[in-house]
Subunit: 433 residues, 2 copies
């Protein structure tokens, strides 16, 4: 994890920097803000994901010889700008919502304060990380709620870009998933990993029984056997005959699950395998999970729908300049007026209002270039990076644990209607004051 | 690009290996096949993406100290299996469709031949790369066709995981996109990059005019000015006043484009800027591009819809054991019979039948464990890796160029109906013989 992230950047950021270095405006103290104009698909809340990853990636946003040489050869920027980039290191301040926090339309999720030149070139990296990870965390949180007390394992790595898969696993865990199949996510982020066997293992052996015997010899009777390669009923008979009634679990990866699971439970019970757990993994999403709530499922495994954000694979967050300090030392709020894409200028301080029972009632965003906040609501901003140094508590596996715990707390504040799966309005209204 | 890819793997692959090493079945010569059961969203054809990337990533699928130590600590596999992994290097053969080739339901896109233990642990890496890159290439190819002769630039990095973004850019270029905003894709894959300025640059300056003057001073009058920060009409007046009628281009990133573009062209022409090009970049997908075909657009920029596969962010490809060689030396075709997810056993050799005009008529897949192929159709398989060594012609920027050229040829063979944007049947029927 030492390679440069500096070219994970859209070319226009460097050409803007080039022009701003030439005209002097690069040094203007600036405030950039990340927000989403709306929640996707009529969802009721969003979940901030990626913050801890982002802080590490910004630490590696340095232009080394390979990057500079390529920029020179391609004439992307001037020689002066190359010199400036060679010394580049982000020295500004980043505040934002905690990772795992919930957000609503217009919530100022991240605020980057730095000279324009330092901040403008982070746009793509910031958005790539927050847009993808938040899309996954948002979908995952709905699935976790739909599953109730039953654990969900993340198994979608094969349906996402190989690096995105690790990020998706991390985001899902923050939003309450119990474990993942992805080993790299285990190694790097400390996420519990799980998994036993695929159909290939059964197919490789001359009989299903031989495959089950081999798996039990290697992993013990507590393992989970995949029983649907040929015929589920026969598979379960064989599984319990081979493992005995102490068999840990069986997995179903096909079929009409709401119908099948009850029969499977009855068969297991009739064979004395009353403690054998049932894991289902067949193209599940939050709706399929909810539809199985009355079925005797013990564990869910979710793949494709998780890593693709269950219909919303990108969160739609944008990174906008909202204020700069002019030569007189005054902060100037700025906003574009583009048709359908207008923004709100000024630095912002968001708080969440709660009622006496601790349930959130609104998201109040103070535009502090207008007046300073005086508000009893829960403050939503924390300092993530200061003087270019990340707060270590947000990094690595500890940061993941903290974000997971924070998500659980943030969710507890939400009103009942936040958890409806149907499309509708955001659970909280965002007020700009 | 030297870090290990070995843990971009689902845990069950290593636990299967563990059991197979213990029972001896790990050494069975095996054939694994990648295919998709269907094309997403009623599309007419799919495009294979990611092959060149995959070959490089398999070359880095080695277990180093960091990976082995973590596996040991987590008790994922036995000590014997750890020793085996320490020496692991893929030594098998990989054949497959060329990158950029089109494919249909059941097309055997990739075939991995190796001892079971060597092949089984590549499943997740193979699928992650092919599923994501093919999803992007498939969406991109439709967009390129919808755009006709007008170039499309890829600008979606901010709406995808930061590493996935580089892969998406590469896949889009293979499918015919002209350029990308992503600098890392330029550096690593040799893809042309583009981009000039965002709204932030205009907002940072005291007036739009100052911003335009600065940009032109740095980049010349051939640059493209973003004119919709405040008011498009005024923006264009200012742009042409500052740059003169030789202004290279203007960009529109908002508004009702089919209505707006005609007016903008007329305004530019009336100002004498008849050669100034119009680039549009507002939430485009293949349908929006098609809807602009009668408007005087010169260049499209596509972001979110490209990197999210325009509604189908994962291709749904699977990696299945289809044959193994038993102790008598006979090849045994294997297939699972799972409800709704049955597979077809046996090694396969696909060819594409063409009519006398060179137009494809069907995808014929010979199951060679049944009988050897004798077929005048175009052979679809090439050897990508042999004895664990990749064919260098598929790697790096040269591999990307070759894939792009191949895609153009493959597309020319498709019948007219393949290019309909509406949902429907695959353009070719796949026949298993």
């Amino acid at each position: 994890m030492t390679s440069s992230t500096a070219l994970l950047t859209d070319r226009y950021e460097l050409t803007m920097l080039d022009a701003a270095l030439a005209d002097g405006s690069y040094a203007r103290e600036s405030v950039f803000e990340v927000f989403g104009r709306r929640l996707p698909l009529g969802r009721r809340y969003g979940v901030v994901g990626g913050t801890g990853r982002l802080l590490e990636l910004i630490g590696r946003f340095r232009f080394g010889d390979a990057e500079l040489e390529w920029l020179r050869r391609e004439h992307v920027v001037s020689a002066e700008t190359l010199d400036w980039l060679a010394d580049y290191r982000f020295t500004g301040t980043i505040t934002g919502y905690r990772e795992g926090e919930v957000y609503f339309p217009g919530s100022p999720i991240l605020t980057v304060e730095a000279p324009f030149g330092e901040g403008v070139i982070l746009e793509t990296l910031v958005l790539s990380v927050l847009n993808y990870d938040s899309a996954i965390a948002t979908a995952a949180s709905r699935m976790v709620h739909a599953a109730g007390d039953r654990p969900i394992a993340e198994m979608g790595s094969r349906r996402a870009n190989e690096d995105a898969a690790v990020a998706a696993t991390r985001a899902a865990y923050i939003a309450g998933f119990a474990a993942s199949s992805n080993l790299e996510a285990g190694r790097v982020w400390g996420i519990p990993t799980m998994g036993t066997a695929a159909h290939a293992f059964t197919l490789l052996h001359d009989t299903e029984e031989e495959a089950f015997r081999s798996q039990i010899a290697a992993m013990g009777v507590g393992t989970t056997l995949l029983v649907d390669t040929y015929d589920v009923k026969t598979g379960i008979e064989t599984a319990v005959r081979v493992a005995g009634p102490k068999l840990g679990g069986i997995r179903l990866d096909s079929g009409d699950l709401p119908k099948l699971v009850g029969k499977v439970r009855a068969q297991l019970d009739s064979l004395g395998a009353t403690g054998t757990k049932i894991t289902v993994t067949n193209d599940l999403d939050e709706y399929a999970i909810a539809a199985l709530s009355a079925s005797p499922v013990d564990n869910y495994g979710v793949g494709t729908s998780l890593v693709t954000g269950s219909g919303a694979p990108a969160s739609g967050m944008v990174y906008k300049l909202v204020a700069y300090r002019n030569e007189s030392g005054d902060w100037v709020p700025v906003a574009k007026n583009s048709d359908g894409k207008a923004s709100i200028g000024g630095r912002k301080v968001p708080v969440r209002h709660l009622d006496s029972a601790g349930i959130a009632t609104s998201e109040v965003v103070h535009i502090v270039t207008r007046r300073p906040p005086r508000d009893a609501g829960r403050e939503l901003l924390v300092t993530l990076m200061s003087g270019g140094e990340a707060d270590a508590s947000f990094l690595g596996p500890d940061g993941v644990k903290a974000a997971r715990a924070h998500h659980r707390r943030a969710i507890e504040e939400l009103p009942e209607e936040a958890f409806r799966l149907g499309a509708g309005d955001p659970a909280l209204t965002t007020l700009f004051v």
